[in-house]
Symmetry: C2
Amino acid sequence: MAQHLTIKQIATLAGVSAGTVDRVLHNRGKVSEEALAAIQAVLKDQSYRYNLHSSAIAFKKTGKVWNIVITIPFSKKGEYWDLIKSGIDQALAEYGDFSLKIEYVFFDQFNSNSCRETFEKIKKMDCSAVIIGTTFVEETQNLCKGLDKKGIPYFFVDGKVTDTKPKAAFMANQTACGRLLARLMDGFVADDAEIAVLLPKRIGTQLSNNSAIRLASFRNYFKEKSRDSAVKEFSFSADNEKKAGEEISAFLKENPAVKGIAVVISTAYLISGAVEKSGFKGICVGGFDATEGNSRCIREGSLDFIINQHPDKQGFNAVEATLHYLLYGTTDSSADELMPIDIVFKENLIP
Amino acid sequence: MAQHLTIKQIATLAGVSAGTVDRVLHNRGKVSEEALAAIQAVLKDQSYRYNLHSSAIAFKKTGKVWNIVITIPFSKKGEYWDLIKSGIDQALAEYGDFSLKIEYVFFDQFNSNSCRETFEKIKKMDCSAVIIGTTFVEETQNLCKGLDKKGIPYFFVDGKVTDTKPKAAFMANQTACGRLLARLMDGFVADDAEIAVLLPKRIGTQLSNNSAIRLASFRNYFKEKSRDSAVKEFSFSADNEKKAGEEISAFLKENPAVKGIAVVISTAYLISGAVEKSGFKGICVGGFDATEGNSRCIREGSLDFIINQHPDKQGFNAVEATLHYLLYGTTDSSADELMPIDIVFKENLIP
DNA sequence: CTGTTAGCGCATTCAC
DNA sequence: GTGAATGCGCTAACAG
């Protein structure tokens, strides 16, 4: 196997000591021009790659501890944001040999005041990096401005926000998500049937950015296919199982031609369960994300498929990127990391 | 963060030295009963987890080198087995700090003689572990018997073989694969149309084990749905693009009711391209694995979807498991590792 | 049998 | 400015 270049090897090749090479690699200054030139000459031939785990064990000795603040909406076990949290926790376990101090700060995703207050608190906290679940745009922009001022790096999960400078953002391509939902519905629902696209009913607030993009992309697909007239929009109470069930039952009674239900948010299980209980047959239901509720409905057969944005992977990668940045001051990859999008049926559901 | 238990910590807690703990963890013997008991007492409370990368750097010093032989069918760039190889190479790069000597030995997947000769050669080789791409059953059993005799551990990718004892096998659930193919075809093809299931034409040899399971599972789905009469089996020349194209064109001309084509092997692109060129419209084509050819056809629109078995992940995990076994004498997980199955449409194809 | 020791790649401190 | 020295978790040889 091609062995990587080590700091020691570079030092030997450049005729200096390991300490000097380290200073150059970390831009710590205090290096003579000759030494710098010699090292750069070596690095021209072969590029150096840090060994993250060697860095980790070396850091343990120094006693340095990084405070990472993670602020995301709270959610019940198995719900969307909890899946993101799972991925974060998994990364923290895998990189357990780093001395990290993690502080979770949760807020209410349906309440912009809660978000604002939480973010104000974070602006005053002393920390090395922040991982932010993007929900409310203005509040996030405000927080980021504060962090920028203090020079604290931040990372996004689940979305992007204009006028911010995250070191990296991890999310799925929402346009592709909406289009894929449309394509699957188009395929599974007979050509002469109608298709309902379901949105969350919100009081006061607008549709979230992600949902809006999915909806637009969904409708756009059917426009291209000249099947747009078959698409009916319907809003339901996404935070109330009983109400949601009653609403969808009533809707289906009034719209018997509807044979497909596309839910643009992660609570499709509220719908699919009610559809089955109400006795409607031959209706294809699709939604987003392998939450506990959705997975259960897929397994039981009431939900036909979901489009999975890998929330756990988003969380995992965000931690990895944060670590990489804290250690080496760079992010490995481009600032926008698009997560793969999975389609999950009963047959390929992971138990 | 919860830091892991280290060897040194165990030693302190058990009142012995690190060397003794190491001997216990590695079953190297030469430990008194008291010391053993003390260490086991500590390990009862908290379980120990090796730090693979610390092991790696420590091993470098010893100069020990592991010879790993990898024997899989040769294939063109971007074809199925090359994707497995990519995953293997990726793992070798990631674990580049281990001193591994890798030797690839390729054989012809369509020629059992080539396989037998290759495997005879491997039986005589001096190596630490073998990763085997399972294709021909008898030949594989024979090789495994030889390796068992010499005490050399082996690992499978892409399948399992009866009467063998691999330390781990990495593959997708083939029954689920076949069923998923059926379900997608059932959904996308109108209820009154026919569906063709395509198999490779083979001279002398039977259908490969994986293909046979997929086919049976595919047919079984339609039997359950009482739609079995709509399924037509058809064999094509999977190793000859021109011939394959002519065959499928002729088949579609004779069977105008066929509106769905399900290819049970990884060369669907040979079919979808020909279908498009021949001018047949509204035919849904699905197949297996994100090979270069299939990915291109998905992008261009001639192929509707593929079911991806993550060949790269299979290869990656096989190397990881091999390393883990060589270092610690155990495999992390159960012997059979089922890979996730992805569904890929144009919208969620990774470029 | 067992503790000690050296050194893997790395970051950092401290003499020089 | 710089190199030597230290120790992180780990392995293995070695001396007792």
